[in-house]
């Protein structure tokens, strides 16, 4: 039987300086804090990160950025992380912004083995300055090249040994897209069940896309509720 469950160390063995690393999550939900901590502890640097946002200061990928390990961040919005905005303004990190759904589509296109997508989002804005134009359906569009990564770090609620993943509530977000778009896909899971325990119709990410599954031994405090967002 296929068994993709391994230790954090072995899962991160191929993570190296200079790589492109995608990280799931939209805020806390779906952010793979254990795997990110593992990358931080490994000491790798010169990373290019791809994530919806940069978490908040002192949390998640912000730790990697604050530690100077990230040369470039490809993202959508940093509104909740003044520290990373400051680093961006001081040119301590290169940041590339995309409209949120276009970022999702670029990653999905990478996962689907497409070269890119053509969209009209941003057509009348400064975004079209550095984008190739394309004429489709009699309309002007912009070419958005697909995005892939060396490594994809995924957070799942449940996994089986074959690597099938299930996400919970708003923790799904970018995870299933990135789980298709990494050359090496590493998923952390809150629970690991025996293969066969996840009904095939309920799988969110088929195991064939996943290389390693790591059990989250203890749910660290950063996975919990952020008090300042409770209203």
């Amino acid at each position: 039987m296929i068994d993709k469950v391994t230790s954090l160390d072995r899962a991160l063995k191929k993570v190296k300086n200079g790589q492109i690393v995608m990280t799931g999550g939209f805020g806390v939900p779906g952010t793979p804090f254990c795997l990110i901590k593992g990358v931080l502890d490994k000491g790798v640097c010169d990373l290019t990160l791809i994530k919806n946002e940069a978490n908040e200061a002192g949390l998640g990928i912000s730790l990697l950025i604050e530690a100077g390990r990230v040369k470039k961040l490809i993202t959508s919005h940093l509104g909740l992380n003044a520290r990373v905005i400051e680093m961006m303004n001081e040119s301590l990190i290169d940041v590339e912004f995309f409209p949120q759904g276009i970022l999702a589509e670029k990653i999905r296109a990478g996962g689907a083995g497409l070269l890119g997508i053509i969209t009209d989002i941003g057509i009348d804005t400064i975004l079209c300055r550095d984008r190739q134009a394309a004429h489709v359906h009699g309309r002007q569009g912009l070419i958005e090249p697909s995005l892939r990564s060396d490594i994809a770090l995924i957070h799942a609620s449940r996994a089986d040994r074959a690597g099938n993943l299930i996400y919970e509530k708003s923790a799904r977000n970018f995870n299933p897209l990135m789980a298709m778009a990494g050359d090496l896909v590493i998923a952390e899971a809150e629970t690991i069940v025996e293969t066969g325990q996840i009904p095939p119709d309920e799988v969110h990410t088929p195991g064939a896309f996943v290389d390693h599954v790591v059990l989250i031994e203890t749910l660290m405090p950063e996975y919990g509720v952020l008090k300042h967002h409770v209203h």
Binding site: F26, G79, M88, A104, E168, S170, R172, N173, V230
Partner: protein, 221 residues
């Protein structure tokens, strides 16, 4: 109920904005003022609230007792879901927006032009937190209502002949709701449809750079 626009402009705007929502619609509430809108909706209104982070059928804020670590809206607030909600990934969430299934979106603004152009994401050199979902919401919602204070804190106009800041999207705004006025974007320009009980025409015109066509049936709100 009437809210004083001076003491509580945001709630004044949200209360009026709530009236733009029709039963059964799929809507998106941007960050800031729009999040106050649900307070002013009828309890039995059947409605689907979309949140960019993959929630179709968002409910109210959770409050401390019900906060779920896996359930936030796009602004980060812990929320609940309604019966019939569905979770999806970020690509499907925006497929709903760009695919034409979002009936109505509310967004804030830095500047709006008389043609309905919107600028709300960047002040070059000063404010550049990113793009987020706003560009797609602005460009693709079937109807876009801007909720914003009528002018800046320094009483500079936000409703301009032409935007000076980089655009979020061009010709995307259908209606502007401020604490002072309700303005419809038409082919002929901006039509002043309503002014608040607590202001007068001169004040509104004085705080608006773009020319306003005064509606024949101008009403108070």
């Amino acid at each position: 109920m009437s809210i004083d626009p001076k003491s509580d402009p945001k709630r004044k705007i949200a209360m009026r904005a709530a009236k733009e929502i029709k039963p059964g619609q799929v809507i998106n509430l941007g960050i800031g003022i729009p999040t106050l809108i649900p307070e002013f909706l009828g309890k039995d209104m059947s409605l689907t609230i979309h949140s960019e982070n993959g929630i179709i059928g968002a409910g109210k804020s959770s409050g401390p007792a019900r906060a779920d670590r896996n359930l936030i809206d796009a602004g980060g607030t812990y929320i609940t879901t309604v019966l019939g909600a569905a979770f999806c990934d970020s690509s499907v969430s925006f497929a709903l927006v760009r695919g034409g299934r979002l009936d109505l979106a509310f967004l804030g603004a830095l500047e709006i032009s008389e043609k309905g152009d919107l600028a709300n994401w960047i002040i070059p050199g000063k404010f550049a937190p990113g793009i987020g979902g706003g560009m797609e919401l602005a460009q693709k919602a079937k109807r876009l209502v801007i909720t914003t204070t009528h002018a800046t804190k320094n009483a500079s106009a936000k409703i301009l002949k032409k935007c000076t800041l980089p655009l979020t999207a061009s010709a995307c705004v259908d209606m502007i709701i401020t604490e002072l006025a309700v303005i419809k974007v038409s082919r002929n320009g901006l039509v002043l449809k309503e002014i608040s009980e607590e202001t007068d025409l001169e004040t509104v015109i004085g705080l608006t750079e773009a020319p306003l066509i005064i509606s024949d049936d101008l009403t108070r709100f």
